[in-house]
């Protein structure tokens, strides 16, 4: 029997999902559903379910948009953030959430990610980062570590990888964070804060792909990969309480960058207002 959460926020007719056994993507999809649920249920906030729009591109991650029971649009490879920009700008009251993958948002869609970060329109982008192209069967992605194997890196990956959360931060994102599929509660809270953030927010969620990335690189099964996350991805408070020597090789999860830069649609609303006030001619003025 599906849980109440599944009944409430997922399209039961379209389940079970297509992800492989052990895939971390289902965990992230649930994190998103719980985060939205908690925001809607919070009496101090005024979140309306009908105002959420879930946008995705192409790849394993992007199937999540169809499973989540909100307004949803499954777009073209790499372009989800650009579609989302149009949706949010057209109707700024909508909460626009982009579900994307490491390839979708940092290879084919990398340009849209950095410009959305710079522009600071109030989108929330959640990357399902599994270090591989899963849908096409295990090719190396921009987050496959150097030296690791993939079907297109049979002798080890020569590329150096992106840290996408740092990339978004470097591009000027007013909110950039990192989560994973082991630290579920922490990641839900990060996603909630990302949605509450007024400007552009980016959350790089480390998923696990035991089927392609894990198998190719002898990382063990899904449980082994989660244990690796437990031991190497450290929530902020604990990370900073660790002696510096112990931090080596480990990564911090939590919020990396936070700024209250002006939000794009609010700034543009001022442009419209100014045009009206200074007598910028309207349609009628032409006659």
């Amino acid at each position: 029997m599906p849980s109440d959460l599944v009944h409430l926020y997922m399209r039961i007719d379209h389940l079970p999902q297509i992800w492989c056994p052990g895939c971390g993507n289902g965990v992230i999809m649930r994190d998103v559903a719980v985060a939205i649920h908690e925001l809607i249920e919070d009496p101090a906030l005024n979140f309306n379910r009908e105002d959420f729009v879930v946008v995705s591109g192409i790849g394993c991650s992007s199937r999540a948009a169809g499973y989540l029971d909100f307004n949803s649009i499954h777009t073209t490879h790499g372009r989800a953030i650009a579609f989302a920009t149009g949706i949010k700008f057209a109707n700024p009251k909508l909460h626009v959430i982009v579900l994307t993958g490491d390839g979708d948002c940092s290879a084919i869609g990398g340009n849209h990610l950095i410009h959305a970060a710079r522009r600071n329109m109030g989108l929330t982008v959640i990357a399902f980062n599994n270090n591989i192209y899963g849908m096409t069967g295990g090719q190396y992605s921009p987050t496959t570590p150097n030296g690791d194997r993939a079907t297109t890196a049979p002798y080890g990956n020569v590329d150096r990888p992106f840290d996408i959360a740092n990339l978004a931060w470097g591009a000027g994102a007013s909110f950039s964070a990192r989560g994973d599929v082991y630290h579920v509660r922490e990641t839900i809270d990060i996603i909630k804060q990302a949605i509450l953030h007024k400007g552009f927010s980016f959350v790089d969620v480390y998923s696990v792909c035991p089927t392609y990335y894990g198998r190719k690189n002898k990382k063990g099964d899904a449980v082994d990969m989660l244990k690796w996350q437990r031991d190497n991805l450290i929530p902020t408070a604990r990370y900073y309480s660790m002696p510096e020597g112990e931090r080596k090789g480990k990564k911090r999860i939590g919020i990396l960058a936070y700024n209250d830069y002006p939000e794009y649609t609010e700034e543009y609303a001022k442009v419209i207002e100014a045009c009206r006030k200074t007598g910028g001619e309207g349609e009628e003025a032409r006659e």
């Binding site: 729009v53 649009i73 073209t76 410009h115 100014a274 009206r276 910028g280 009628e284 032409r286």
Partner: protein, 383 residues
């Protein structure tokens, strides 16, 4: 009519679009279409609309489709290189049935080509640029005033048939300045989007009643949750692997244009009543053709102009209706023979079809056309 104003073609595209209800523009600068973005940036906030300059053309068309899905009439404008970049998402718009208008102010190609020079080399790309079988509506204006009125029609057709409509301008019309008397807003016919799904028991978002071709559209944020995808999908809007449903969907998408050509297709005929020679042309090329027709007429030749205003679907029926009176046809276009292929397909072997084209970035002059007519005459109009 209101008072006459001096206006550029690109500017008329913006004013017409705003009159049609355009309230969103996303674009990327490219010669010779840039004035459309510039003018949209000035005008849209004045009417409460939104302008955004995106990072590239891939993003521009994506943002336009997103804005349309959220309920605004939306447009982008580009030229050949940018039009090439937009092709994938154009197909998305056709498959997901998201209305919008895409302006291509054509310049000389291929590749970067001659960025500031006129051409009409994107005619076939407009039809076949995106992959897969898909419906295409493309309109092409030949004057500044027509740019204004025809782009309103482009928006109306986009909304009516729920599909991206291509507005195929060229550098000649885009950069031409003419005195125009714009119609009063109250004289314009503007189609508004039906903001709800089809009435009745079936509330599926892509449900199409028997005998109709176009599902009703409800924008995101208006109370009913649904899914949009570029995958083959059923009436509920969700992906399907059923060959039966996929085949039915693509057939309906093609039919909604092909079964409505009577509504969609428009041509302009000039001095055709007693014409023995028809000069076929479209867009800015018509200006030289008109001059040539007048001069040929003055010299006693029975020449007329047949100009598709709707360039896709090609008005084959209207052209064929003229064949009995014609002795010959001459296709004049700024490319190496693209619409020529459609003319030949429509005419078959019934009448000879001659061709005059240019791919060097210069304009075809009335003199060139008259010389061609004389040459045809001297050659005894041999095929």
């Amino acid at each position: 009519m209101s008072k006459a104003v001096l206006m550029q073609g690109n500017e008329a595209a913006v004013e017409g679009a705003i009159a049609a209800g355009m309230r969103f523009f996303a674009g990327y600068p490219i010669t010779p279409s840039t004035e459309i973005a510039e003018q949209s940036a000035v005008r849209l906030p004045q009417v409460g609309g939104k302008f955004i300059q995106m990072e590239d053309e891939l993003a521009s068309i994506a943002a336009v489709l997103g804005a349309s899905a959220a309920g605004l009439k939306a447009m982008t404008a580009t030229s050949g290189p940018g039009f090439s970049l937009m092709q994938e998402n154009l197909g998305y718009g056709m498959m997901a049935e998201i209305p919008c208008v895409v302006v291509d102010v054509q310049r000389a190609g291929p590749s970067t080509g001659l960025a500031t020079s006129p051409a009409q080399g994107d005619y076939m790309q407009a039809r076949w640029g995106t992959h897969g079988d898909h419906p295409v509506i493309a309109l092409s204006p030949s004057s500044v005033l027509e740019t204004y009125t025809l782009i309103i029609r482009a928006f109306n057709l986009a909304e009516k048939y729920r599909t991206p409509v291509l507005f195929l301008m060229d550098e000649i019309v885009g950069h031409m300045r003419e005195g125009v008397e714009l119609p009063r807003p109250s004289d314009l016919i503007i189609n508004q989007r039906k903001m709800s799904f089809h009435d009745g028991a079936n509330k599926q978002c892509y449900y199409v009643p028997e005998g109709q071709y176009v599902p009703a559209m409800k924008p995101f944020g208006h109370g009913e949750r649904y899914n949009i995808t570029g995958n083959a999908h059923d009436e509920s809007g969700f992906p399907t692997n059923s060959s039966e449903i996929a085949g039915k969907l693509v057939t309906r998408l093609l039919d909604k244009v092909e079964k409505n050509t009577g509504d969609i297709v428009r041509v302009e005929e000039y001095a055709m009543d007693d014409a023995e020679t028809a000069i076929v042309c479209f867009g800015g090329t018509a200006r030289a053709v008109m001059d040539a027709v007048l001069e040929a007429r003055a010299a006693g030749k029975r020449v007329g102009m047949f100009r598709p205003v709707t360039v896709w679907p090609f008005p084959a029926g209207q052209l064929r209706a003229r064949l009995p009176q014609l002795k010959r046809l001459l296709m004049v276009e700024h490319n190496h023979g693209q619409m020529l292929l459609e003319v030949q397909r429509a005419v078959g072997r019934e009448k000879p079809v001659d061709f005059l084209g240019r791919v060097d970035g210069t304009v075809i002059s009335p003199r060139d056309i008259l010389d061609k007519l004389n040459e045809m005459e001297e050659n005894g109009y041999a095929q």
